[in-house]
């Protein structure tokens, strides 16, 4: 069935971005345009969310395999490369659509309060809407090319947003880094698409046609394609080795971090793998590789998060860690659990970021958690909602994170990948530790510093628009889990069932599942306990930790990976460039040409010597020629005789 609503959903934010951008650039400044920006900037995502709900409601009445198509126009048609600008809402994209528009709208509303005093208010909302549009384009695309366009535009929007405070060069550097690493991923992605297109035999390049024609491509090539596509996901979902942009991306305004890290951009990689489920189902080895990368990233990020002091960076690494979980799920073929964790994560991580943003605003842009402390009593609303989100991400029962994360872990166990399961459990422990470390230090532990340093005791009061989205998200973080209640707990995994993805099946007996889940909860509680011991009842006054031991320092500096990249890639490239500029071009290429010129000049100079005005020389040279000819005649022809 077809409908024009999906197209409208995608176009609305773009339209909003265009209008706001135009107004921002061309309507003379000075007039108070904030109301206009608020109306358009919040109106379009809300409208999109509303339309999204309508579309999804409509779709739920259809059979599970049905989708709502929304063709717009033919983008390009050359040979068999026929790409339409067409959108499709099926069960998978419906979930993403809802997550993106709903969480996105909430973040937009939150951003009104957050950004109210900023000079670039209009610009910010133009970028924000653009970002949302690009994300919707990515999610609703009916062919990989369009998906890729959305994919790239999302990267562009994140570049613009991360570098929003462009006075500070560090922010721009972070934005550059994000875009560059994303582009490295995109290079892999587009290579995968190109290869897929070159190898496919049927015409048409939308998802349905591609999946129908997968049988005609041999497995080795399919694996290569799968790997290349996943390289794109590595960049976008910040996995090893392309993750280094993510912590730096915290340079942007906090709503940006929420939007990029929670709801949207970083989950694109997971979504892409789920979208290509028919492809990845054919190549389980690559799937295992994806899961391995996911597990490794999850562990590494959790380790990093445990040693960070910047509140947003802790959350950034935690995002990377959670994305690792999702990739474990989709890599092992448990797509619906991955998507479910994605949705749940969108809620609680958005909540965490927005809470963190509220704290930061309240403390006048202070981001070091060890300079906060004891905020619980002063920001009760933020504290409560943050607690909900922290519990959710930690995986305490009844919160969304418990069901989504444990489903992934028990599936990993059930399908026999115990190593991955074990890593997952360790990560769960670390998650509990670092999340509660954050929570305790910021909200619970008494602030020793504020008494000493003259930290302003007056907190900025938070506008309402920044507070009530927190409660909506907190509600989501609590109740979302029940959508996908496993059978072991009397549920019917309604969500996974409705999602209708090509999942692998692996079941555990309920008893085993109870044991595993109980173990997970125990591990999480252990993490909380350690954090409590260290930060609420500390043996010594709480200060920012000073790392004396080498490995601690290394972890706090995230293993010097950035430096490594700088040494291995950036500097050599500059070196080559300099080398080209100083050696190859002027010396070798121009030099050889100049050599020719010198030769020519030399010959000319020597010839000019003959032209010395001296009569005898002229006669001599002339006679030399005559004599030469004579000699030739004498020898070659034998003279006259």
């Amino acid at each position: 069935m077809s409908s024009s609503l999906p197209s409208l959903i995608v176009l609305l934010p773009f339209f909003g971005a265009g209008v706001m951008g135009f107004v921002y650039l061309f309507v003379p400044a000075g007039r108070n345009l904030r109301r206009f920006y608020v109306a358009v900037g919040i109106g379009t995502p809300l409208l999109a969310a509303l339309l999204g709900l309508i579309v999804v409601g409509e779709m739920l009445t259809l059979p599970a395999s049905a989708s709502i198509a929304s063709p717009l126009y033919s983008w390009i048609a050359i040979g068999s490369f026929e790409i339409d600008v067409a959108f499709v809402v099926d069960r998978l994209s419906a979930v993403m659509l809802l997550v993106v528009t709903l969480v996105g709208s909430l973040i937009h509303i939150y951003a009104v309060g957050y950004m109210w005093d900023d000079q670039g208010f209009g610009k910010f909302f133009a970028y924000f809407n653009f970002f949302l549009g690009a994300m919707l384009l990515l999610v609703l695309a009916n062919n990989p090319i369009l998906l890729f366009i959305g994919w790239e535009l999302v990267g562009l929007a994140s570049y613009l947003l991360i570098g929003f405070y462009h006075h500070d060069t560090a922010n721009i550097t972070a934005a550059n880094k994000a875009f560059l690493l994303n582009r490295v991923g995109d290079f892999g992605f587009v290579s995968g698409l190109g290869l897929l297109f070159a190898l496919q035999k049927q015409s048409g390049f939308d998802f349905a046609a591609i999946f129908a024609g997968l049988g005609g491509i041999d497995t080795a090539m399919l694996s290569l394609i799968g790997l290349l596509l996943f390289v794109g996901a590595m960049g976008k979902s910040a996995q090893i080795p392309l993750y280094v942009w993510l912590p730096d991306a915290m340079a942007g305004p906090t709503p940006v971090s929420a939007l990029i890290h929670a709801a949207t951009m970083v989950t694109a990689g997971v979504y892409m793998v789920a979208r290509f489920a028919p492809l990845y189902n054919r190549i389980p080895d690559v799937g295992l590789f994806i899961a391995g990368i996911g597990a490794a990233s999850a562990l590494l990020a959790a380790l990093f998060a445990s040693w960070q002091n910047d509140i947003k960076k802790i959350l950034a690494y935690s995002t990377m860690s959670q994305l690792g979980y999702m990739l474990i799920a989709v890599g092992l073929g448990e797509y619906s659990n991955g998507i479910f964790h994605l949705a749940a994560h969108a809620f609680f991580k958005a909540l965490l970021f927005m809470g963190a943003g509220a704290v930061i605003i309240a403390l006048h842009h202070e981001q070091d958690i060890f300079k906060m402390g004891g905020l619980g009593s002063r920001l009760p609303a933020v504290r409560r909602t943050m607690l909900v989100a922290t519990l959710a991400i930690t995986g305490i029962p009844i919160f969304a994170g418990f069901f989504s994360k444990d489903a992934i872990l028990s599936y990993a166990f059930a399908s026999g990948h115990t190593t991955i399961w074990a890593i997952g459990v360790v990560v769960a422990f670390l998650t509990a530790y670092y999340m509660f470390r954050l929570y305790f230090v910021v909200f619970v532990a008494p602030n020793h510093r504020s008494s000493r340093s003259r930290q302003s005791p007056s907190l900025t009061s938070l506008p309402r628009s920044m507070v009530w989205p927190l409660f909506v998200l907190a509600a989501g973080s609590i109740f979302l889990g029940f959508w996908n209640l496993p059978e072991a707990y009397g549920g019917s995994t309604w969500f996974s069932h409705e999602l209708h993805l090509a999942d692998h099946e692996a079941h555990l007996r309920f008893a085993k599942e109870y044991i595993l889940d109980g173990f997970n909860v125990l591990v999480a509680l252990l993490g909380i306990a350690i954090a409590y011991r260290k930060f609420v009842r500390p043996s010594h006054p709480l200060n920012a930790p000073i790392h004396r031991i080498a490995w601690q320092r290394a972890l706090a500096n995230t293993l010097y990976i950035d430096t490594l990249y700088d040494r291995l890639i950036v500097r050599p490239l500059r070196g080559i460039s300099n080398w080209q500029d100083r050696l190859i071009d002027p010396k070798i290429i121009d030099g050889s040409l100049r050599g020719l010129v010198t030769l020519y000049r030399g010959v000319a100079t020597q010839s000019a010597r003959l032209q010395n005005g001296n009569l005898r020389w002229y006669a001599l040279t002339f006679l030399l020629g005559v004599s030469g000819i004579s000699l030739y005649l004498l020898i070659a022809i034998g003279g006259a005789s």
Binding site: I78, K123, T169, N176, V190, F197
Partner: protein, 493 residues
């Protein structure tokens, strides 16, 4: 209708003659130049409307005897390949005049008028001698503009570009003359018409040498790796309008020559050169991009960027399949628009701050948001961000490369990374950060400048968002050319 091409070619020259005859004042001169550019644009749009994409071969053909003893003819014609470039020229000229609007140096204006005749003539000429004539004609105004109105070592750089290109075109001239003579030898009459020469049954060795002559000329003009040292020098010294023509049009004529004459006449022996061309363009693409990283002069940086993209276009041409050729043709147009935009804006920076050194700039975005928006837009379209035409073209070339071989495809896809290497760092240091002293009084775009840049932005957006509006114009003929080439090349092997 067949006269229309003649008008398109010679109208600017006619205007230059008339205006020069009366030694008109600046205001009249610029109005006249603008009028001629707009007339040419109108005529060009007329041909676009009348153009039949499905028809085979040349259209609007004008074929008159000229020097009949030697079979040299006045032979103009148009197919989709030349149409695209013609359209770009016609579109850019009014914008360039808009850029020059307040420049009172009349020599500037006359040179631009002559330049337009030169480049359009080269695109439309189908008689090789005529082509050569225009090919050289367009060099002269560039030489004069760099030498007289340029800056930073302009004399030396003008000489450099002249020597390089003349070296190439001399080689081509010899090849052309030999071809005409060969035609006389085989058929008893002289002819320099393109399609006659394409039919010559040359023996492979001769054809190889002749092809080398042509390829040298075009390799220098493009410029391919190793023939490129004039590029940065000339770009750095050229005044902005000449620079735009250099990058957006003249370099494309190298590609055009390679395509039309290289592939048209020497289809049989070109496979000998294919590995070389492939390697040069592939390596060049990355070489130029890496070279651009450490450039401190914006013009030089985008000179190398231009080189990188032209190598990509050349790569697409060498790949010789439908996607790659369509992509190359598309990139010719979209890169022309994008580089015209970026070079115009660099010119504006020069006007405002008297410098184009990156380390002297910075923080423009804080002072001039509109300027920053346009500049970022053009920089991003050069980087091939989706939504701009460059992306479509690059995607097509990448797909074309993958159709040939996966490794080739992967190597071509590095173009996604190539522009990234320098564009963003450049943006960081020019637009962002704290405002540098030189940009403290940086004026935002005036209305005239906005009008000048907006068409480019819109076109880049439209070509990116709806390429299907444009591709049907050239795809059938590209397919046809491709079939002819494969047929001709297959005949030999």
């Amino acid at each position: 209708m067949s006269v229309v091409l003649t008008w398109i070619v010679f109208l600017p020259m006619l205007f230059a003659g008339i205006l020069g005859l009366f030694r008109v004042r600046h205001t009249v001169l610029r109005a006249g130049a603008m009028l001629s550019a707009l007339l040419v644009l109108a005529l060009t749009l007329l041909t676009v409307v009348q153009f039949d994409p499905q028809a085979e071969g040349m259209q609007f053909v004008r074929h008159l005897p000229w020097i009949f003893q030697y079979g040299i003819t006045y032979y103009l014609g148009l197919d989709s390949l030349s149409l695209v470039i013609l359209l770009v020229i016609a579109l850019l000229m009014p914008l360039l005049y808009l850029y020059m609007w307040d420049n009172p140096t009349s020599g500037y204006w006359y040179n631009m008028l002559l330049l337009q005749t030169g480049v359009t003539g080269a695109v439309l000429a189908l008689d090789m001698v005529l082509f050569y004539l225009f090919y050289e004609t367009m060099l002269l105004p560039i030489f004069i503009m760099i030498g007289r109105y340029g800056h930073d070592w302009n004399h030396a750089h003008a000489m450099k570009i002249l020597l390089f290109t003349v070296l190439g075109s001399m080689a081509m001239l010899f090849a052309i003359l030999y071809l005409g003579y060969a035609h006389y030898n085989f058929y008893g009459n002289w002819s320099f018409a393109w399609h006659d020469l394409a039919r010559l049954p040359l023996d492979p060795q001769t054809a190889t040498w002749l092809a080398a002559g042509f390829l040298l000329a075009f390799a220098i003009k493009i410029p391919l790796l190793g023939f490129h040292t004039w590029m940065a020098a000339a770009y750095a010294s050229a005044p902005t309008p000449a620079l735009v023509i250099l990058s957006a049009i003249m370099a494309k004529l190298g590609i055009y020559g390679l395509w039309r004459f290289g592939y048209g006449i020497f289809a049989k022996v070109l496979h000998l050169y294919e590995p070389i061309l492939l390697a040069l363009s592939l390596v060049g693409m990355l070489y130029y991009a890496i070279h651009a990283i450490t450039q401190n002069d914006l013009r030089r940086m985008f000179a190398y960027s231009s080189g990188s993209h032209l190598s990509l276009i050349a790569l697409g041409v060498v790949l010789a399949n439908l996607y790659a050729w369509s992509g190359s043709l598309y990139l010719i147009a979209t890169h022309a628009l994008a580089s015209a935009g970026i070079f115009l804006m660099i010119g504006l920076i020069h006007q405002r701050t008297d410098t184009v050194q990156i380390d002297a700039l910075g923080g423009i975005a804080s002072v001039a948001p509109r300027f920053a928006f346009f500049f970022t837009f053009f920089a991003l379209s050069i980087a091939g961000v989706p939504g701009t035409g460059g992306f479509v073209a690059e995607l097509l070339i990448i797909i074309g490369a993958f159709s040939v071989h996966p490794w080739l495809g992967a190597a071509t896809a590095t173009t996604m990374l190539a522009a990234m290497l320098f564009v963003f760092w450049m943006l960081q240091r020019t637009l962002f950060g704290a405002p540098a002293p030189s940009v403290a009084t940086f004026a935002d775009l005036s209305r005239r400048e906005t009008v000048m840049l907006t068409p480019l932005v819109l076109l880049l957006l439209i070509t990116g968002i709806a390429p299907s509006l444009f591709t049907p114009i050239f795809t059938p003929q590209v397919q046809e050319m491709l079939l002819q080439f494969i047929h001709a090349a297959g005949g030999a092997s």
